[in-house]
Symmetry: C2
DNA sequence: TATTGTTATACTCTATAACTATA
DNA sequence: TATAGTTATAGAGTATAACAATA
């Protein structure tokens, strides 16, 4: 492999180019690139921090919205969170299998299901929220408390 | 479907709850949720803006880094951009098929390939960069020029 | 006719593991 | 032994299309 090299203080020996020496060129000016890398970091930390609960970000978002808005239809949840309705079917299947969420018949529209957390789901969500708050502290530690708040403010329009 | 309703100015008729009326609860305080929604918006705009060139964000990032650092190995590109080396193989296959990138034998390590843009790749990348700059202007219009710069600053450590 | 939930398909992405040829 | 590139597989995630039941 042709590797560019650089002089160092260690007696002048050539060492392989460290990762950070590879320039990003135009990429450095693209918000999307930085946002994507940050999002990967943040999801990895979320998954790791909530690993003991075996809950992923999307599952957490679905349970949180159902918990705060009992009786919502699948379409309403899907639209609110920007999830495809076809995908929500499988997400709910797995949450129902774990007895966190129930689909019951809607009183007014026989096409749709009313979504509720079960008693077990409510207790579980309380735990998830504690762990998620811990994850959020990791974010604040990583980028700074004020930067985190600025970020939330700037991006509020997308939520 | 059981739908919460609200009084409106239109003579007091009940209307279905609009999406925005569904509360996010704890989700509103999670940077990851906002970042994820923003990232989806930004990638969609990128893909749409570069549709005429048929180039996606990851392909663009790979070509930009190779263009700025000719002769890099696949491992070096993969590590720098946080892409799995197994995935980079397929990404390069498609870029090579379109004659944008070449894999040539490394002079010093017969296990690795030296990556270069072809003449056609260089010309194409110049066009991609013009379109990507247009996409970046959409981002600035969406969140504001200063907010975009603040964002780049806050997230620079992840790039 | 349109909508809700469902099923199915295809393609992208992520995460591994294993193989080969080299080092 | 370890590394670079490759192949393969499995699980998420995304994007569609089509269908039955119902509006």
């Amino acid at each position: 492999m042709r590797r560019s090299t650089l002089r160092t203080a260690n007696g002048g020996a050539d060492i392989a180019t460290p990762e950070r020496e590879i320039g990003l060129d135009a990429l450095a000016g693209h918000a999307g690139y930085a946002v994507r890398r940050f999002q990967l970091w943040i999801f990895q930390d979320f998954i790791k921090t909530l690993a003991e609960a075996d809950i992923r970000p999307t599952q957490y978002s679905v349970m949180t919205v159902i918990g705060a808005n009992p009786g919502l239809s699948q379409m309403a949840v899907a639209k609110r969170l920007g999830i495809e309705r076809a995908r929500l079917v499988h997400l709910l299947d797995s949450l129902e299998r774990r007895n966190f969420v129930s689909r019951s018949a809607s009183a007014t529209d026989r096409r749709s299901h009313a979504l509720h957390l079960t008693a077990r789901g409510k207790a579980a969500l309380a735990q998830f929220k504690r762990l998620a708050a811990e994850h959020e502290r990791h974010v604040a530690e990583k980028i700074g408390k004020e930067n985190r708040e600025r970020l939330l403010q700037i991006l509020a329009r997308f939520t």
